[in-house]
Symmetry: C2
Subunit: 221 residues, 2 copies
């Protein structure tokens, strides 16, 4: 049992070290040597857990799932807004998240084209938007699948633009504007005044660590 716990700790240490290296250098320029040095483990220990640099990158990408913050404010549309604010507000302090998002965008650009994480995020939003639809929050005819794709696609680009322009210093503000403009086309007029494009108090408390954050419930988390 102690051996298994030690193995899990080593695996964790390697993932965190890899995230730091990927976050700084990107996939192509990150070297296993740098990751070994940052993790303080042997090559044997690393390859016991991960077959290759690609496998390691996939594990770092999968860690994005842990950054999901599911709030319960009584409106499912607010949960979706809060998912995006949970990510946007965590970038500054969460290296694993930054690395995961960087790798996800890079693989699109570098041509590997594994849409897995995009699908995962889209599906997460879609499931919440299905609930929003069932509860009469969405405009008639609104498609949860279309809206989820629009939200995840737009968020991907807005965070990229903000990262290039000012290291994401204005991301929360840009995201808030995005929601303020997009919401009238998504939700019922009666729901609009009850939504917080800036993120609910719950998600702000979660990011600030003054409230226990909720994971997505995914088996891989």
């Amino acid at each position: 049992m102690a051996t298994q716990q030690r193995a899990l700790r080593t695996r964790r240490r390697v993932i965190e070290a890899a995230a730091a290296v990927f976050d700084e250098h990107g996939y192509a320029s990150a070297s296993i040597t740098d990751i070994l040095r940052a993790a303080g483990v042997t090559k044997g220990a690393l390859y016991f857990h991960f077959d290759s640099k690609e496998a390691l990158a996939r594990s770092v990408m999968a860690e994005q799932r842990r950054s999901v913050m599911l709030t319960n404010t009584g409106l499912h549309a607010q949960t979706v807004i809060d998912i995006t604010h949970g990510v946007a507000r965590s970038f500054a302090t969460n290296t694993l998240l930054r690395a995961g998002v960087r790798l996800t965008v890079e693989q699109g650009v570098l041509g590997e084209s594994d849409p897995g994480m995009y699908h995962w995020w889209t599906e997460l939003c879609r499931s919440q938007l299905m609930l929003a639809k069932d509860h009469g929050e969405l405009r008639p005819g609104a498609s949860p699948e279309d809206l989820a794709y629009m939200i995840i696609g737009s968020f991907t680009g807005v965070q990229l633009l903000s990262a290039v322009a000012c290291d994401r210093a204005d991301l929360v503000e840009r995201l808030t504007t995005w929601w303020r403009v997009a919401l009238p086309g998504m939700v019922q007029e009666s729901v609009l005044p009850r939504l917080r494009p800036h993120g609910s108090a719950d998600v702000i408390a979660m990011v600030n660590g003054t409230s226990a954050s909720h994971c997505c419930g995914d088996a891989l988390c």
Copy 2:
């Protein structure tokens, strides 16, 4: 004069060859040798026009400006919609555009962080949205700068997602959905029924080459 024209033709040939190589391999993996081979020019000819691979990449990025299609349908908001559809609908056939957009996204991911082209696209949209505002097309209080940032950021991400998921096969449809949802939060209710989220007939004709396309009027074009 004949010499000058020959030099311009060589410069053009190098840019087009570089675009094909950057489009296929991306910035980091593109080699000058491959570009020379594709262009069929000497190293001396290439370095007469471009100091470095980076200078060449910047010239390819700048070529995006030529893909701007400015329609005049009587509504400035439609011109902005059409700018995005002009780009989306040209990807399949325009290697220079694909390479330029790929390089622009890559430099954000790879950490060079030159927001020049994002600024240029945002400014182009902002100027049209200023006209839309002056003509009473926008919702009261709408900020052309905020809307332009939102549009270019979202478009960047939506096209990236579509590229990763299906080589942009669904991009026009995704973009149309994006506009359909986003427009109610942007424009006056009275303007909404006159707008075509799918792109106006003018821009579709321009992309199909049945109408002369308009350049942006930028001095670098």
